[in-house]
């Protein structure tokens, strides 16, 4: 192989030299990086981009504007990074058109870096702290997220200049078996949910008989609270393409698929561009980087079915059928797409591969825990201050993640629980905060790593309601093949719905536990096998909340609509204010003869508007549970 190996290395070196040259010009003049991934766009990044364009044009500044992906600080979107020669690169958060204008007129035109708006500098300097100076930066260790938000996803040169595709070149100069050994040595476990050792899966596929083999990247990301894979695709698609190509080489496949949800249009667009550029550079296609390995990639758009994240269902879907799971074995690694040996790996898993081949198994194992080396990437949402994407070493405790990395709970409320792993995961209470995060410890606690969705819940979140929410989701998404999954989840959902409406019975709790056991036993795929987890963990840790709903008709979190009433506290209400009246969509709030306000309970649709409106003023609108019967207190 040595002759071909040197060829590949030479081809790669040429590509790299070109890329470095192309990118070098960049640092000699000013530039503005605008994060335009979906999250940034939602916060108004496209307007900010437009403002930079017009202001820079207007002032005739010689500066480049580059669209990048997501840096993970979703709470501070839209984010931009501004570089001007002579200054450190500085990142600004929550940028609007006004700030964008100032950054051009004050910073790019004059020399005032507007520190008032700055979040952090990207490199150590004498003026302003860097991300590493904040707790988040101390605890975070970025591997797959490291370039996200810093490089342009639609410019392959920027990726190559940062050693991109070096892992692929290195892999191609080794025997495929040695690539697999490296991955096995690294102990990498699949990040799609189950944590199966990636190297082992590859070896089975490599050894399976057959000339045609396939690699598939699972970018279906079905967890309704996770958006990591999407951010990776939008921010650094080449990292994934490189990992996929390495996987294909290792198992002996020449065709790859990326199965990505059609709901991710921007991710698909950026992937297509990236694949096109890689093809142009000879990085995929016939004779990859001058070697005798050929490989190409097709994008398959998933049509929005959670169960299609399951491997056999995903394959059925690519073959043009409804995504209904099949028996395993045979495992796809032996008989998968069109009956050929196929490996399926998650976006994150393949993105790690790129770094493992580049830096070696030992490097990877130096991060994280012995059982689960590497980092964990989470989509943090809910009641934490620092929502967004975070990447921490495996073994970091949930407490560190929430209180140090994400800066604690919003609005000084009390922490109640953390939901990890989405519909297959569970809710862990305060007593689990010191649990180190890895596949095994989470599983033991009844939750699951899942695909990285992590939602923080506070005292105002009802645990029965969250269990009901996930059950509603899985019940909806059950493909219907297994009776226990199809009907059992329906039964569980009905019971939970009754409880949230105050119509539950005490024996319902035991019935739920029984149903959970049966559904787990009677379901073919992990959708059914894990569907009861949200219910089981909430009953285990928050049984008192279930009981309050059932015996007292009371929702302790004041969330379940049928169990609360909105009332106005006379002592707090002001005669001079009628903000609440204007906010009501159904004219349920009215002025009493004494000028204080009150609510017609029979008209109220419990939309929460008046409460939110009054919150910054008098906090006079409050919720009470158990509810007051309509007609009970109409003292108008």
């Amino acid at each position: 192989m040595s002759v071909l190996g040197t060829d590949t290395q030479k081809t790669y070196q040429e590509l790299k030299d070109q890329a470095v040259q192309a990118v070098e010009g960049l640092n000699t003049k000013s530039y503005v990086l605008v994060g335009t991934a979906t999250c940034g766009r939602a916060a108004g990044a496209l307007n900010v981009l437009e403002t930079f364009r017009s202001e820079i044009g207007k002032h005739n500044v010689d500066a480049e504007i580059i669209e990048v992906g997501c840096m993970g600080h979703c709470y501070a979107e839209p984010m931009v990074i501004v570089y001007k020669p002579g200054f450190p690169k500085i990142c600004y958060g929550s940028v609007d058109e006004g700030i964008a204008t100032r950054l051009v007129t004050d910073f790019l035109v004059n020399d005032d870096p507007c520190f008032d708006f700055a979040m952090a500098a990207l490199e150590p300097n004498d003026f302003f702290p860097t991300f590493e100076d904040f707790p988040r930066g101390v605890y975070e260790q970025k591997v797959v997220l490291s370039d996200c938000g810093l490089i342009a996803p639609d410019d392959i040169e920027q990726y190559i200049a940062r050693d991109g595709y070096g892992g692929l070149a290195k892999a191609l100069s080794k025997e495929p078996e040695r690539v697999i050994t490296e991955v096995k040595d690294s102990n990498l476990r699949g990040r799609g949910g189950a944590g199966f050792p990636t190297g082992v899966k590859w070896e089975i596929c490599r050894n399976a008989e057959g000339d045609t083999k396939y690699v598939i990247c699972n970018a279906d990301e079905g967890d309704p609270g996770a958006f990591i894979d999407r951010a990776l695709l939008e921010s650094n698609p080449h990292q994934l393409i490189e990992g996929l190509a390495i996987a294909a080489y290792a198992i002996g496949a020449s065709q790859g698929y990326i199965y990505v949800r059609a709901e991710y249009p921007l991710a698909i667009e950026r992937l297509k561009t990236a694949i096109g550029q890689a093809r142009e550079k000879g990085i995929i296609g016939n004779s990859v980087m001058g070697s005798n390995f050929s490989f190409d990639i097709k994008i398959f758009q998933g049509s929005g079915a959670f169960v299609c994240g399951e491997e056999t269902a995903l394959i059925a879907s690519i073959e043009g059928n409804a995504g209904i799971p099949n028996h395993r074995p045979p495992f796809p690694a032996v008989s998968g797409l069109h009956g050929k040996p196929t490996i399926i790996n998650n976006v994150k898993t393949l993105s790690y591969i790129t770094h493992i081949i580049r830096n070696g198994a030992e490097w990877f194992k130096s991060i994280g825990t012995p059982g689960t080396p590497g980092t964990a990437v989470f989509a943090l949402a809910g009641k934490v201050v620092g929502t967004g994407l975070v990447e921490v070493p495996m073994g970091t405790t949930i407490r560190t993640l929430i209180y140090d990395v994400a800066d604690g709970i919003k609005n000084e409320k009390n922490f109640k629980a953390v939901q990890i792993g989405g519909p297959s995961g569970g809710c862990l209470p305060e007593s689990s905060l010191d649990l180190p995060i890895d596949f095994d410890s989470l599983q033991q606690a009844g939750a699951m790593m899942g695909s990285g969705g992590l939602v923080v819940l506070d005292e105002e979140d009802c645990m029965v309601e969250i269990a009901r929410f996930f059950l509603e989701f899985t019940q909806n998404e059950s493909c219907g093949k297994c009776t226990f999954c199809r009907l059992g989840t329906k039964q569980m959902l009905d019971i939970l719905t009754d409880i949230t409406k105050g119509k539950g019975k005490l024996e319902d709790i035991d019935l739920l536990l029984e149903l959970a056991v049966d559904i787990k036993a009677g379901s073919l795929c992990a959708l059914g096998k894990t569907a009861p987890n949200p219910v089981l963990t909430t009953i285990r840790f928050f049984r008192d909340e279930y009981e309050a709903h059932i015996t007292e008709g009371r929702c302790p979190a004041l969330m379940c609509k049928e169990l609360i009433t909105y009332v106005i506290d006379e002592k707090k209400c002001s005669k001079l204010c009628d903000a609440c009246i204007g906010s009501c969509p159904v004219e349920a709030v009215y002025t009493r003869s004494d000028m204080l306000k009150d609510i017609y309970l029979d008209k109220c649709v419990k939309c929460d508007n008046c409460l939110v409106t009054c919150l910054p003023l008098y906090q006079a609108v409050i919720k009470v549970s158990p509810p007051i019967e309509a007609g009970g207190n109409q003292n108008g």
Partner: protein
Amino acid sequence: MELMEGELEKITAEVEQVIKDQGTERERLIPILQGVQEKLGYLPKEAMKKVAEAVEVSEVEIYEIATFYNQFRLNPPGKHQIKVCMGTACHMTGGNIIMESFERRLDIKEGETTPDREFSLERVACVGCCALAPVVVVDENVEAKVRPTRVDGILLGFDMEKKAAEKEMQKAASEQKTQEEEG
């Protein structure tokens, strides 16, 4: 839904084009249906029949696939598509309240289109802006931190747009009329 005038011809033409682009292999079935929906906005019965013929599978199989996947819709979308995020974070911050507000205002249920085909209402799972929950995607724009009052605001905006457009049309029509009369 009744087909409108000229709709059948459009359906036939678009479906034929998509099939020509995609080929008729079984593996292309889902991409074909996606292509048809992209062109027509939904999968009309007539289109499904045509696809079944071309790919040589039974109509019921097409129907199975069209109803299995959430992406496919069997009713025409509204001129304005409203998608309420029902992901975890949005749900916990009141996404259902927002959905109910839209349902109340538009007098349709989730998954339906108003009879005048002006609005359709759907749910989506996490659009990845959990930090801005609850989130609604109106046509292609993401509305952040939506409250029920904002629901009224969004609909009012469209209403005013429509009225203004109608006024313009009337004005143009009457101007044309005067011109014709004068000319």
